[in-house]
């Protein structure tokens, strides 16, 4: 749960802003390059996150009004199928 879960909405918005700022053409060359690099980095991070294969599957249970999460055994599912 420590996984960075800030939304893609925010990142994509940020990206759009960077592109817009660049498009306005009011930045110095150094600023432009900085923005460009920032944008490319953001794209890379987003793509990486989308292709990350570190998902967690958990089962939510509730006992006496308290929630608890346990690992959901996907293997068990596959076994049952056979």
């Amino acid at each position: 749960m420590t996984k960075d879960k800030h939304s893609f909405e925010e990142d994509l918005e940020k990206l759009q802003k960077i592109v817009d700022e660049l498009a306005k053409g009011k930045l110095t060359l150094a600023e432009s390059i900085k923005k460009y690099e920032e944008g490319v980095k953001l794209i890379k991070e987003c793509s990486l996150r989308l292709n990350e294969a570190q998902r967690k599957v958990q089962l939510l249970t509730k006992k006496n009004g308290k929630f608890s999460l346990e690992d959901f055994d996907e293997e068990e599912l596959a076994e049952e199928e056979k």
Binding site: K3, L12, V19, L27, L29, C46, E52, R55, Q58, L59
Partner: protein, 417 residues
């Protein structure tokens, strides 16, 4: 007793006045009661409901009618509770029940045990009626529907942990969107407990919060199997849920109330998972597009700078050209100066040569070349202009045009040339 026997029994009654048999009201009513109740028990009666009302006791009273007749009917609380749809006037129904005679009023009525709508099944009718009611209340209102997240990062799924639905969804997500965390809340998806559990699970996720999309799903089955998803408590729980809800119940052909209330619905659990994969792919496409935009913009920036540099270079070039021009003028000037100087020198030289020539013409040596000679008294070498300057015996040097000679004076003639 059969219908056949009953008909045979009536003529007997009709012949009885001859015997002058007199019934009391109670007796005849009692006879009728026996007759009717024995003959019309557990019969199916078809008719249209009218004058329907439910008494405070919970018993329902109404009439069944057709074009020519009317039959009073009562459905006691116990039976009334079991019916899934709502009875109302005008509804065409088929009732299973028994005729009962109520002696105090001298009336007969049908005690209804079971009632089914005619034409469509009871469940279907119940579904239609509930749908109508919820629609009126605005539960399907598009304005109430929440947008799904751009892409869910933590998914809540309400389904049976042992069903095909969860297996299908997890399989597709694993392949297509393996970054999505999944939290499963396992419930019965059919049977008596199902609707209650589903509704409770929705409220649990509401409380649990840490998800950004809730999928309520179940694999295909008969419409009875899917019935829990048509229950009012499920529909209301979905409606009241602040999280975006995606409903994916059954096959293509089944549309459940949960589908209609949910913020979005798809036909199958597989389709629900595919939506997430599609969303992922859309983002990847957008990222690619933005990368192209970035490339283009930075190229534009560089291009712009380049053209500005060229422009500046151009501006810088002009004074240089002017300088060169001036240099050229200078060169030209220098050239002509040189030329003039040479002219001057030439002219001067010419003059000089003339002067020299004149000078040369005046030179005594030039005279000598014409045959004249020059005599000088030696040893002083003073030029002798008059004979008086010399005397006999003096040594004189005579310079000729070419060469000279030394001689001594023999004689002096002062009066002669």
């Amino acid at each position: 007793m059969t219908q056949e026997n009953f008909k045979l029994f009536i003529p007997e009654l009709k012949t009885s006045p001859i015997n002058k048999q007199v019934y009391t009201v109670s007796q005849v009513t009692e006879e009728m009661k026996l007759l009717l109740e024995n003959n019309f028990s557990n019969i199916w009666v078809e008719g249209e409901v009218s004058n329907f009302k439910v008494a405070p006791s919970g018993h329902a009273y109404f009439s069944l009618k057709d074009e020519r007749a009317l039959l009073a009917a009562v459905m006691f609380k116990r039976a009334n509770r079991d019916i899934k749809f709502k009875l109302e006037d005008g509804l065409k129904v088929i009732c299973l029940g028994s005729i009962n005679v109520y002696p105090a009023r001298g009336q007969h009525q049908l005690i209804v045990e079971k009632i089914e709508p005619k034409g469509i099944g009871a469940r279907q009718l119940a579904f239609e009626q509930l749908k109508k009611k919820l629609f009126k209340e605005g539960l399907f209102d598009p304005a109430h529907k929440k947008p799904l997240p751009l892409i869910p990062l933590r998914l809540g799924i309400i389904t049976s942990r042992r069903g095909a639905a969860i297996r299908d969804i997890l399989g597709i997500l694993k392949k297509g969107a393996p970054f999505v965390d999944v939290i499963v809340r396992s419930v019965n998806v059919q049977g008596e407990l199902a609707a209650r559990q589903i509704a409770q699970a929705i409220r649990d996720f509401e409380q649990f919060k840490e998800i950004d999309l809730l999928i309520i799903c179940r694999g295909g089955g008969s419409s009875e199997d899917l019935w829990s998803f048509n229950e009012e408590i499920v529909a209301r729980a979905i409606y009241n849920c602040p999280l975006p809800v995606l409903s994916a119940v059954g096959h293509q052909i089944n549309i459940t109330l949960s589908d209609l209330v949910a913020d979005m619905f798809v036909e199958t659990p597989t389709a629900a998972a595919k939506i997430i994969v599609d969303k992922k792919n859309n983002i990847l496409t957008e990222l690619e597009g933005q990368r192209n935009n970035l490339e283009k913009e930075i190229r534009d920036v560089v291009y712009e700078l380049k053209s500005r540099i060229l422009e500046l270079k151009h501006l810088l070039k002009s004074p240089m050209e002017r300088l060169l021009e001036k240099e050229q003028i200078l060169d030209d000037l220098a050239d002509s100066l040189l030329l003039h100087y040479r002219h001057y020198l030439d002219a001067t030289g010419q003059n000089l040569r003339t002067q020299v020539a004149r000078l040369e013409a005046l030179s005594p040596l030039a005279i000598l070349s014409r045959g004249y000679s020059l005599s000088m008294l030696m040893p002083g070498a003073s030029i002798i202009k008059e004979s008086k300057e010399i005397k006999k015996g003096d040594l004189i040097k005579t310079v000729l045009a070419k060469g000279a000679l030394l001689s001594s004076v023999q004689e002096v003639f002062n009066d002669k040339r």
